[in-house]
Point group: C2
Chain length 324, copies 2
Amino acid sequence: MKIAVIPGDGIGGEVMDAALTVLDALDLNPELIMADAGDDCLERTGTPLPDETLEAVGEADATLFGAAGESAADVIVKLRREFGLFANLRPVRSLPGVQCLYPDLDFVIVRENTEDLYVGDEEYTSDGAVARRVITRAASERIVRFAFDYAVGDGRGGVTAVHKANVLKKTDGIFREVFYEVASSYPQVEANDYYVDATAMYLITQPHEFDVIVTTNMFGDILSDEAAALVGGLGVAPSANIGEKNAIFEPVHGSAPQIAGKNIANPTAMILSTALMLKHLKKPQEAQKIQEALEETLRNGLVTPDLGGDLGTDEMAREIARRI
Amino acid sequence: MKIAVIPGDGIGGEVMDAALTVLDALDLNPELIMADAGDDCLERTGTPLPDETLEAVGEADATLFGAAGESAADVIVKLRREFGLFANLRPVRSLPGVQCLYPDLDFVIVRENTEDLYVGDEEYTSDGAVARRVITRAASERIVRFAFDYAVGDGRGGVTAVHKANVLKKTDGIFREVFYEVASSYPQVEANDYYVDATAMYLITQPHEFDVIVTTNMFGDILSDEAAALVGGLGVAPSANIGEKNAIFEPVHGSAPQIAGKNIANPTAMILSTALMLKHLKKPQEAQKIQEALEETLRNGLVTPDLGGDLGTDEMAREIARRI
Ligand SMILES: CC(C)[C@H](C(=O)O)[C@@H](O)C(=O)O
Ligand SMILES: CC(C)[C@H](C(=O)O)[C@@H](O)C(=O)O
């Protein structure tokens, strides 16, 4: 098993070390390929995403990504597009011992990861600028199918499409149309759809009704941060970027420069991302072991200061590793 | 004082009647011009927004708008653009007796209301569709200036710009740039900016830090529904669409067909929108009277079922009117 490892900037290195400590406690002996990206990398090498890093990601079975700073958009958005990592999977799951609005949430946001306003097609005009929001039938179908397959595989009963087809009649009209076309071949899964603004409200007022949400790129970006807030914030929110051949696993949080280097960053999001990676690599038992060891550690309050504990990032990681 | 009145579809008529009951309790004797719009109107007249309605809005000092159904985008978005109602003001304020996440919130979202993905410039392509997201310096400057003027006038200490300039480098780059340019002429008001995804999280984790939020059209649409959920949901969320010459006041909620005609719709959002109208028409004392009568009514639990009471929409309105 070949894993590319991109610690990146800020707290990226610290949470990555924590994840590797936990990974090391499993009997997997992965081959780790360390790779460079982000602001520091830009300063040192002149580019935030060197060719060697692209190569490392390309030849690895999966990649762990820590965080990138100011250059994040040029690193992670580029990686997603370059490797066709079309599905951004963002589980929203309450954890024991983590203060949050809802202690019993468990749903998943499946975010289209390659198009929409993220195509990077913008131009200045005489009086401002214009960005193109691109929605294709092919990418819509691919992500919707992924969401339904995920629902089936994970034993989930419903998929909700989120869009703004009342205003974006053509682009999101296609997304909604494709959604119901695909839905018709999954009769065992319930399908419904909401407007994105209503969803932003429902996530707060009736989050339990969600099972799998599938949505376009930018709406997914916004809603997944909102949803993360419901279950304890970015410190505990993992994500997976999945393509046909490659996959990158990263915490939803950024490089958090104000707390970097202090050994206080919460490693949970990175460690849960590592568990997602193992599940993706067909190691569900190992993923489960991480999940259980993490939950026990959280329940025992052996946690970083943001969660009310007094452990360092590395100590929390060792507590989790010990329980594997 | 000439007021155009557009009840529209679904619960629009019921909450509008409620608002007019309350308005009637003040000694203003406005001239009301009833006007037609929405799905029913479309069915009856062949258009969801007849010319007479546009005329009525054009000649009124202000317009009260109830709700539109399926045709909402063709009605309200068109009205906003047609009359250059560039500022969409959405107060987020906790109310007594209304169950909500935070009992003490008080901030305002100022949403740009004429451009962004709402320009309606979409086209089909060979493989899908493309929508254009238009951001101009002029509209950005106008809305940012409005936000700062509002902050000064309302005694608020800070304005936060919300954007996604890390991905939308040109369009939102302009918005952010203009924001800080304008901010520099308001040295007494604090200015800062956040990414939209982070804001979607902060609205839940640290909403008290917000005072005035200014943002582009689509982000404002999403964030204002999210924010409404924090203080009790759409039933109590008012809004104002303000232009140079005209202004339209409407609840954030839609036509809610499933509860229409039952006299159970919560009239609070429409009544608060009416108070916003009076404030706009330089009748701050009358606006204040509505606000106080409403709050007393809420405190006494003389409310519709959604708020835990057993009053009809019309009865709740009469209770408020009696207290004026
Ligand atoms: C860093 C940024 C470009 C990125 C995005 O917008 O996708 C981040 O917010 C995320 O959600 O992974
Ligand atoms: C009905 C719809 C077109 C409208 C919008 O998107 O602006 C609504 O959601 C709103 O917020 O007023």
